[in-house]
């Protein structure tokens, strides 16, 4: 078996319609605008805790998720805003979550690093580096089990996003080994933005210049994509997703990308030069796609401005929603969702019935 799969990577770029690429452009612009406003709101102390923005990496989430079906499970780590939006979570649920409001996707109980959205099969942002990867294996296990044991007759694949920092966590290697021996259709997507917090990949990861070795260790096909080009990401991912859907086994994808901002809002970024950041910014995935569409005559500067205005309006609406949404009421929310029956801290108030719990929906309005 070939561990790396150069053939798949070198195949000619699949033609994607201008309409689809315009949608991707807007999706990426929405994430960018959302994150810029997030940074602003954080500086205004409207958002608390840690805050890790996704600026620069937009093509990864958009390109990968475009290659999936809407009911393929997606799970990611703590830099999750972009993945949630790319998956279709409404911006206002995302923003309100960061504001700690009841109108947030997790009623303000999760926060920036813990977005969840059942409606879009988004299984969460998870904030312990690498901790989401065994859960991703479990999502893939469940899709396979549903098909083979419960007979639901549908093949799904799981996208499990991780950063390059997670490459060095044992959890990932246990998850990859389990997926390999149990044939679980989990695609481990490494968004290699070169830094785990302030530690460069060269300082933290063995064989940093050839991550195919990580996949080879578990007999997984390995793919690589340029994360500054959404079409390239999509083309690689489309092939991987289609193949793993049919083969029902795991794969490993490395997407080379870069984050323009610090690890979190409190990062002074002394570990890298401004020139290095500028170099990547010059290759910006949004500008790159917009230029390509303009060159092909599918977009003009006015159209670009309109797109810009529409994502600004959407994010402005999200901020407004977040600001107007009430804070969760401690009287009802502090103790709800701890367990499916409200026992409280001091033992049972009622005996549990045999449970037929349906997890709740995110609230419709603040």
């Amino acid at each position: 078996m070939t561990m790396t799969d150069p053939q798949a990577v070198s195949q000619p770029v699949e033609r994607v319609s201008a309409k689809t690429r315009l949608k991707w452009l807007r999706d990426m612009m929405l994430i960018r605008e959302f994150e810029l406003r997030t940074m602003q709101a954080y500086q205004e102390a409207k958002i608390g805790g840690f805050c890790h923005v996704y600026i620069g990496q937009e093509a990864c989430a958009v390109g990968c998720i475009a290659a999936t079906n809407p009911d393929d499970p997606v799970i990611t780590a703590y830099r999750d805003h972009g993945h949630a939006l790319a998956r279709g979570m409404e911006a206002r649920y995302a923003m309100a979550e960061m504001f700690g409001k009841i109108g947030g996707c997790a009623k303000g109980k999760g926060g920036s690093m813990h977005f969840f959205d059942k409606r879009t099969h988004f299984y969460g942002g998870h904030a312990i580096v690498g901790g989401q990867t065994p859960i991703g294996a479990g999502l893939a296990f469940a899709t396979r089990y549903e098909n083979e044991v419960l007979g639901q007759g549908k093949k799904r694949v799981t996208l499990c996003f991780l950063g390059d920092g997670a490459l060095n966590q044992g959890a990932l290697h246990e998850a990859m080994n389990l997926c390999a021996i149990l044939d679980l259709p989990c695609i481990f997507v490494v968004e290699n933005n070169r830094y785990s917090m302030g530690t460069s990949i060269e300082r933290g990861t063995s064989m940093a210049d050839d991550l195919s070795t990580k996949a080879a260790a578990y007999g997984m096909p390995y793919f690589q994509a340029d994360g500054m080009d959404v079409c390239a990401v999509y083309n690689v991912m489309k092939r991987v997703v289609d193949r793993m859907r049919s083969e029902q086994r795991p794969a490993f994808v490395e997407i080379s990308t870069y984050r323009y901002k610090g690890h979190s809002m409190s990062d002074p970024q002394k570990y890298r030069t401004k020139d290095e950041v500028s170099e990547y910014e010059a290759n910006d995935p949004i500008r790159r796609l917009a230029d390509a569409l303009i060159e092909a005559g599918s977009l003009n500067e006015d159209g670009f401005k309109e797109l810009n205005q529409s994502v600004r309006d959407e994010v402005r609406d999200a901020i407004k929603w977040a600001e107007q949404s009430p804070e969760p009421d401690p009287a009802t929310e502090l103790y709800s969702d701890v367990v499916t029956e409200p026992f409280g801290a001091y033992g049972p108030t009622s005996l549990p019935e045999m449970c037929e719990h349906e997890p709740g929906e995110a609230p419709e309005s603040p």
Binding site: V149, V339, Y346, G347, C355
Partner: protein, 332 residues
């Protein structure tokens, strides 16, 4: 209790196996995963024969990688399956702490009620087989600190079966603590189906002089101690909590109102233990009904030693319980 009408005696391990098998027949979403649960027939033969009945898609061997397969159980549960994840020993679950303590119990809360985590983690808990300090954890004291999960700790085959069936149907993560020292114990278990609800303690022995509260294997030490004390005319009421989360304080308080004395027996370490919590809740709710302080009998505050005599010296036993009851009742 229903066990009184049972006509057959089965082992603790058989009771667990029956609970799992019945639930797997009832609900195809239930599967069993763990080290050596399938081809080897279970490290302690708990799952013997289950691979034959349910096949390799539902009784699944996994490599020694607790963090990985515990997390797999969390993910599968978030998708609506009903995983039973066996830890050969709860001591080994400590390498899976991120999944079982940081993820499983918090998922429902973190997701604002969207994703439950109906997974059962089960296996052998506690010391007693000269296994040395790393294999001898009684994890209940440590794990009870975490909200969002259920902790079940049966002492008899009857309780084990009824509680495990409830655990598998529960929508929350359940930690089901067995004991390798009890797997061969026999007890009456009815043929017909039954469930035992969580949060309902069982009075294993009635008495009016002193209340003994315990969980899991030490319940048997309490019963032994109570028998000996009865010879002197001291009648102890032995309460088996059966579940630590939720904790049935009502039954305990009611007993103390009658006896006015209490000893709590706990096989985990004393500092911040289940016994400490029970004692504190007693003070909060029933101070006026106590004629002395609450006495605790826990494992000694040392890592579990290997040497047989040292290990026995560390663990709760009937002798220590008798002494505590005597002290509680001002008899020594």
């Amino acid at each position: 209790m229903g066990a009184a009408v049972a006509t057959r005696q089965i082992q603790f391990r058989e009771a667990i196996r029956e609970a799992m098998s019945e639930e797997m027949r009832r609900d195809k979403r239930v599967f069993l995963m763990g080290e050596e649960v399938a081809q080897y027939q279970g490290a302690y033969k708990v799952s013997q024969g289950m691979l034959d009945e349910f096949g390799e898609k539902r009784v699944i061997d996994v490599p020694i990688s607790e963090n990985g397969f515990a997390g797999l159980g969390v993910g599968a549960a978030m998708m609506g399956l009903r995983p039973i994840i066996e830890f050969m020993s709860w001591s080994f679950s400590l390498v899976a702490a991120d999944q079982i303590l940081n993820n499983a119990p918090k998922m429902l809360y973190m997701s604002g009620g969207q994703f439950g985590c109906p997974v059962v983690f089960r296996g052998n808990d506690g010391a007693g087989g000269q296994l040395g300090s790393t294999h001898s954890w009684a994890v209940e004291g440590l794990f009870a600190n975490v909200p969002g999960l259920r902790i079940v700790i049966p002492s008899t085959p009857y309780d084990a079966k009824g509680l495990l069936k409830t655990a598998i149907r529960c929508d929350d993560p359940v930690f089901f603590l067995e004991s390798e020292r009890m797997l061969g114990n026999k007890g009456p278990v009815p043929e017909e189906e039954y469930l035992i609800p969580f949060g309902k303690a069982d009075i294993k022995r009635a008495g009016g002089d002193c209340t003994l509260v315990s969980f899991g294997r030490p319940v048997h030490f309490c019963l032994e101690a109570a028998e000996k004390l009865a010879e002197e005319g001291i009648e102890c009421e032995v309460i088996d909590g059966r579940t630590i989360r939720p904790l049935d304080m009502d039954t305990i308080i009611e007993s103390i109102r009658k006896t006015n004395y209490c000893v709590v027996v706990d096989q985990s370490w004393p500092f911040g233990s289940v016994a400490s919590e029970v004692a504190t809740q007693i003070y909060e709710r029933a101070m006026d009904h106590l004629d002395n302080r609450v006495y605790r009998v826990c494992s000694d505050d040392v890592p579990a030693p290997y040497s047989k005599n040292l290990e026995q010296a560390m663990l709760p036993n009937p002798g220590k319980i008798i002494k505590a009851v005597r002290q509680a009742m001002y008899l020594e």
